[in-house]
Symmetry: C2
Subunit: 430 residues, 2 copies
């Protein structure tokens, strides 16, 4: 029942991921496995399992460099079989998973040299990793298992996180359409909520209004992040000094938050006149996120903040020219640092002082912190189909944050990127 919908009328909105999408993704992944001389990859993270199978039911996806992949499902087998476009079987006894792999993939595990199997070690919890490494060892080394090896079998299951993250960077037309749906849902919800952004309303009350809007339009209720210990509700709305408070969140402006248990995003602070209000919002439709930021003010900003906002718009215009096929991500980041410095705003760019972040933009897709990142260390060239959120922002401690953020898809042949964000670009003066 791959890719077809057997639901009744009221279930029509439950759209499966097309089988050809999954086939293309598996094919591209297998090419990467061959290129990096991996025998196979064991995918454990729910978002990646969804991407390469079409279902998010729990289990383990085994993709050999050549041949048919298998999804071993813990729960629910029934739903996984309905949704997945690849071979789907019950996981069975977890402690016998090594033997199952050896049976199903004899050409890999009965080969002469030890196979090189990778996994998503950037998300996989250590306790499960130790078990899986032992099973993969057992599949090759036989009944003695990984525990008998000097390194406990760790050499049998290596880190394939970078490979898996790179493999999801370029989005298909089907995926981009979904990101655009999220952009529309957010734009409509923001337009509904803006008239209620008034003096005396709290950041929390107002984001609740936006969240209601995106939820009614299909927002799935969570925004997925890959980073350990990172969370985001639907973005942040930060006004005045509350926006400028430093946070753990891996972004240029985290916001004060509601307390130590939610130390980022909105707070109970009420909007006041003549302070910058940062509207960094997102939502997730069909699994795909959008990310955008606008700056608003009730009344008027100071000249210093108006200039900084202008600098953010200037930087995003200049960066758009640089975001062409083949450009190196790190070069774009370095160029943005120079643009901020040219305006005398280096210390305020992307956070302040010790709490500055070292990037200008980040990939978006199924997760809000995808690759590539516009940062040092990311020397990969931009490719058509990559989708990035670019967010030049300036932080003034005790005063506030101004900035802008658009999401773009890279296009082919040296053309500028296409903006996916719908909301009008301006300083919203309310």
């Amino acid at each position: 029942m791959t890719g077809t919908n057997d639901f009744t009328a009221d279930q029509a909105a439950y759209d499966y991921i097309p089988a050809e999408e999954i086939a293309n993704r598996i094919n591209a992944l297998q090419q990467r496995l061959v290129a990096e001389k991996l025998s196979a990859v064991l995918v454990t993270h729910n978002v990646s399992v969804l991407y390469w199978t079409g279902t998010m039911q729990t289990g383990y996806l085994f993709v050999p460099a050549a041949g048919e992949p298998t999804l071993y499902v813990r729960r629910s087998v029934e739903r996984a079989k309905r949704e997945a476009s690849i071979r789907t079987v019950p996981l069975g006894s977890f402690s016998r998973f090594g033997q199952t792999l050896r049976q199903d993939y004899a050409s890999i595990f009965e080969s002469e040299g030890p196979p090189r199997v990778g996994a998503d070690l950037d998300t996989l919890p250590a306790s499960t990793y130790l078990k899986l490494a032992s099973f993969v060892s057992e599949a090759y080394d036989g009944d003695k298992g990984g525990a008998a090896l000097p390194d406990r079998g760790l050499s049998r299951l290596t880190d394939a996180s970078p490979l898996l993250r790179r493999a999801r960077m370029v989005k298909s037309a089907w995926e981009i359409e979904r990101i655009e749906r999220a952009a529309v849902a957010l734009e409509e919800s923001l337009a509904e909520a803006l008239p209620e952004l008034k003096e005396g309303v709290s950041e929390l009350e107002w984001i609740a209004r936006v969240e209601y809007g995106v939820r009614c339009r299909g927002h799935i209720g969570v925004m997925r992040l890959r980073g350990y210990n990172q969370e985001v509700p639907t973005g942040m709305v930060g006004s005045g000094t509350a926006a400028a408070e430093p946070t753990y969140f891996d972004g240029p402006a985290g916001g004060r938050g509601l307390g130590p248990s939610a130390p980022q995003s909105v707070s109970m602070k009420r909007f006041a006149r003549n302070e910058p209000i940062l509207l960094d919002l997102g939502c997730c439709i069909d699994g795909y996120v959008i990310d955008q930021t606008r700056t608003a003010v009730i009344g008027e900003l100071s000249d210093e903040l108006k200039e900084a906002y202008g600098a953010a718009e200037h930087i995003i215009r200049e960066v758009e020219k640089l975001m062409v096929e083949g450009a190196r991500c790190s070069d774009i980041y370095v160029a943005s640092l120079k643009l901020a410095a040219d305006r005398g705003l280096a210390d305020h760019f992307m956070g302040f002082g010790a709490d500055q972040v070292r990037f200008l933009g980040h990939g978006i897709g199924l997760e809000i912190d995808e690759w590539p990142v516009l940062a040092n260390g990311f020397d990969m060239p931009l490719e058509p189909g990559m989708v990035l959120a670019v967010e030049p922002k300036f932080t003034f401690p005790g005063v506030g944050v101004v900035g802008i953020e658009n999401s773009y898809v890279i296009t082919a042949g040296g053309s500028p990127p296409r903006a996916l964000t719908r909301t009008k670009e301006q300083l919203f003066v309310l």
Copy 2:
């Protein structure tokens, strides 16, 4: 600035965790370390870091079995120092973390035998675990580091997840007060939204209304789960057959969801007459969650479903009598299975067929899937201050789910547990 509030008026709602709470928690943890002969524990997960320090900024918490713990902060040091009640220092160079630990905790790492250090391996990603194990080895074994050891240093950092989970089971009065605040916020929001639960309204639209209510009352926008690949927005609202669909979610009724990328909780299905509507809802205030379920119907349920709902109420009444100090969790689970079987409903209890879950209730607190669990394997006795959500439910494939869920705190001396859930117990006939 431990435990005091230096914010201005509009920041008054940002309540710090009292220093004496943190001191009590650290003290209890150190007693467990001594009892289990661990030299120290390295805490990496944001929720646990919050619990034992008062801040959720990113970094690593090192708690020795005796002496002063230290929070090594990656970001933001400024905010962590403001919020934490324990010694808080910048992490500095991560690659030198082993040397930092050796300097700060010489009595542990310069001892004769290798120290036994634990960590939360149930959440810690494998790639970071491998680094931390290497650092801890380096702290003891010197410059050669963990990589030179036969097992790559893994024996130096063992799994302390069970210890850490057990240490958070018994809640203080301060914590229970916060869970009760969440219960009030949910009850008020549910009461506001119930009049809008009408034929033709979709599950999604209606939960959006509840979510708006809890958000305005301080819901932090996320519900935290510990389990890998588990997610929950604010619970699920499932009507008729949509509620009864099997899911990966580790609960008795996950719900259809919005698509493969959100295959649980609400769907686009519209409420119809004479079908059971399961309202399994929660929210998170000050970091603490509440979890409750009620069953509603527009019109009338069939006799079979009415009887099943009655059985759920009967089971929760009987289980309340069993939930006394000293009772074994697994015994209560086994008793509930018998109660369901006595009503001829064994096959429908806690899910259906292959997708039944093997528990009756679960701890709640900072996470929705805390310990203890009312399940086989949990032979620990109930202790005063433990908080559990108990959720007898019956699934009828193609028809729907009925049931009830209350959250309780265990009391002392053989008294029945105190219900924290506020919403009236009844089949809501609308």
